[in-house]
């Protein structure tokens, strides 16, 4: 009955706002990807793994806003599972990686982690793709005493307790921010910066880190503004920043925000160096921003520039990884894919070093890893350092003629 539309209007107006917000926040489509361990049939070597499989659990975001991170990670894990099993498995046993989707949602990451620990009885965990989901997994892994290899960059993952059960393969925001600041101060010789950052965990932890390291490099943050990931126009924020006359602009976020910012910067006709985050280290940014992407500089792991790698071991790892990945998925792996490579490779190495699959033994072996050549860089863990990489494992990349060149 539609007799009292005015009353309905008043009541629904506010209620509907709330519901729309809820719909907006809710992720859609609950899917679970479980990779099957049975595709090692092509093995024609005598190294057929046998016995009970060693089960490793992975929580990645293959749906939701972090899907662009989680998909290459899942691809790599599936690729590596087949490859490792084809080469004889781990300790002679087959490797089984159970991959669950957290829908880019912390609550789902919690559920998935509990399921992996309680039902799948995993010996180690990989995950998650985003900082928020990784942080959601952390206390559960720590409580159960299961090693967790984090693939996200948020600082708090290895800065705040519990710290004993989490190791990281991605370059921490510390490193990417520090690399970017070092570039602005030492390569560009500039001092005054303005920062535009995404309000999500990635952007705001980046902003916090800039504040942390700016003094080391003699930088001054003259203005800062924020935006939401799906925002349509950022000229207002850029105009506000421009009022403070910065010498360089730092944009800390993942697609599509930084691409909108680049286009708006061009629209405003404001020529200043644009230094982005490692979140735009993908072809998508160039595709979205078009001409406006020219001259944009961002920190990245060396996978974008295999020729920049000086370490022979890492060079070999990356070359094999790029050809395997490209052959199977028809595109070159990005650095999210290489996080997946390092996560599973480090776990396999730890299990083989320990000659044991007990979580404590794996943890001890991880802490002992040093000088391990991975796809992201050279890993050195210790009981007090669970961030394997160093500033020198990152390079600065510049966009030129719609492709990437080394910025140094």
């Amino acid at each position: 009955m539609r007799k009292s539309r005015k009353a309905v209007l008043t009541a629904t107006s506010i209620a509907v706002l709330a519901v729309l917000l809820a719909v907006f926040l809710a992720a859609c489509g609950a899917t679970t990807t479980t990779s099957d361990a049975g595709s090692a049939t092509e093995t024609d070597q005598s190294l057929e793994p046998s016995g009970d499989p060693i089960v490793i659990g992975a929580v990645v975001s293959t749906t939701g806003p972090n899907a662009p991170l989680g998909e290459p990670e899942r691809n790599t894990l599936e690729l590596m599972e087949d490859k490792i099993n084809a080469e004889g498995g781990v300790l002679g046993r087959p490797l089984k990686i159970v991959i669950l989707d957290d829908q880019s949602n912390a609550k789902e990451a919690v559920t998935a982690t509990q399921r992996l620990i309680n039902q799948e009885k995993v010996v180690a965990l990989i995950g998650a793709s985003g900082s928020a989901t990784t942080l959601a997994m952390k206390p559960i892994a720590a409580q159960a005493g299961i090693p967790q290899i984090a693939m996200a960059a948020g600082n708090t993952i290895t800065d705040e307790p519990p710290l004993d059960w989490v190791w990281r393969v991605a370059p921490k925001d510390d490193l990417a921010v520090e690399r970017a600041c070092k570039y602005i101060a030492e390569d560009l010789g500039l001092k005054k910066i303005a920062v535009l950052y995404d309000e999500n965990a990635f952007g705001s932890s980046g902003m916090a880190q800039i504040d942390e390291v700016k003094d080391v490099y003699g930088l001054e943050v003259v203005a800062r503004e924020s935006y939401k990931t799906d925002e349509t126009d950022l000229t207002a924020q850029l105009t506000k920043l421009r009022g403070s006359n910065p010498e360089a602009l730092v944009v800390w976020g993942t697609n599509p925000g930084p691409a909108v910012a680049a286009k708006n910067l061009k629209q405003l006709g404001w020529p200043l160096p644009y230094v982005g985050s490692h979140g735009i280290a993908n072809f998508k940014f160039i595709e979205l921003a078009g001409d406006a992407a020219e001259g944009v500089v961002f920190p990245s792991t060396k996978i974008l520039f295999p020729q920049s790698i000086t370490d022979e071991g890492q060079k070999q790892v990356i070359d094999t990884f790029i050809s395997d990945y490209t052959e199977r998925f028809g595109e070159a792996p990005n650095h999210f894919a290489s996080h997946g490579w390092d996560a599973i490779s480090l776990l396999v190495k730890a299990i083989e070093d320990a000659q044991d699959t007990k979580p404590d033994a794996i943890a001890a072996a991880l802490n002992a890893i040093s000088g391990f050549a991975g796809a992201d860089g050279i890993f050195n863990y210790s009981p007090t350092n669970h961030d394997g990489l160093a500033v020198d494992d990152l390079i600065m990349v510049e966009i030129e003629d719609a492709s990437w060149v080394l910025a140094q």
């Binding site: 719909v23 799906d230 349509t232 599509p256 006709g269």
Partner: protein, 292 residues
């Protein structure tokens, strides 16, 4: 704040506001005829944008891709009405509103499966050389969006005021029972309003894609802002929806300039709630949908 900065905040507000306005028009149209708040409105806009992008990538020239997007979303909107709204006609508005929530999720998931999860670009309709006015700048695409909005509003005004069908739609809004007694087919009016709101949303989505890109998840924010704009202006009146959109956009732009981008949405929504508190019918609404 200098005058030049002020003008740029207004321009930014107009860019965002005209996008909100186009989404708000769709809300208004369906609400006007049926009393339904269509939660899938943002998704229809998203679908319009992604259809245009998909057709353009398939090799169609931009104008044809645009028209193709209108047709695709028109078909989707009609199917949506036939499959989700029509069967619930007897159950009342609330059940139909819930059906639109379901449709929004279905459309979003379908779009994710068809176009993937990443944002996709569309080239601007007439280049991206910015237009400079007194030191502030505007992209030509914003003018396309504003122009489209004006044309649609004028067309709707003409339709509502001058055509028999339009008058029948208004009659249904004022009193569906009396309209039915006068021989107006209520079911046809509902179908028509969904179809037209689909076409308008598609136009909006295709116009907006060059400015802000489009991904399967873009509809959520657009729907939220579009609904806020429609409510701010006054649900049920196309012109009010457009003013609501522009007001919301400009408020956001000025909030960035005067306060901080972090508080932008909070400021805009607090003002929206205050307006609703004082004028539940919206800033410009009331007369058209008023019924006692």
């Amino acid at each position: 704040m200098t005058g030049q900065q002020f003008l740029q905040y207004i321009f930014s507000g107009i860019t965002n506001g005209s996008i909100y306005a186009l989404t708000a028009l769709g809300f208004t149209l369906v609400y006007n005829a049926t009393g339904i708040i269509n939660f899938a409105q943002g998704e229809l806009v998203m679908l319009g944008g992604l259809s245009a992008i998909g057709l353009y990538r398939a090799g169609l020239p931009l104008p044809l891709a645009f028209v193709g997007a209108l047709i695709i979303v028109l078909i989707v909107a009609v199917m949506f009405e036939q499959l989700a709204i029509r069967p619930l006609m007897a159950k009342g508005v609330l059940a139909q509103v819930i059906a639109t929530v379901g449709a929004s999720l279905a459309l979003r998931t379908a779009a994710m499966m068809i176009w993937g999860r990443e944002a996709l670009p569309l080239p601007p309709f007439s280049g991206d050389t910015p237009i400079r006015v007194l030191g502030a700048s505007l992209t030509p695409q914003t003018l396309w969006v504003v122009g489209t909005t004006i044309v649609i509003v004028l067309a709707l005004q003409f339709f509502y005021k001058r055509t028999l069908t339009g008058k029948a739609v208004r009659a249904c809004a004022v009193n569906p029972l009396a309209a039915r007694l006068m021989g107006v087919s209520y079911a046809s009016v509902v179908l028509l309003s969904f179809a037209v709101s689909g076409v308008i949303s598609a136009a909006g989505g295709a116009m907006v894609a060059p400015i802000s890109f489009m991904s399967y998840s873009s509809g959520a924010l657009l729907g939220l802002k579009g609904f806020a704009a429609a409510t701010l202006g006054g649900l049920g009146n196309p012109l009010a929806a457009v003013f609501g959109g522009l007001t919301l956009g400009i408020l956001e732009g000025l909030a960035v300039g005067l306060v901080s981008s972090g508080y932008k949405d909070a400021i805009a929504f607090v003002i929206l709630l205050l307006v609703l508190f004082v004028r539940p019918q919206g800033l410009f609404g009331g007369r058209v949908v008023e019924r006692e």
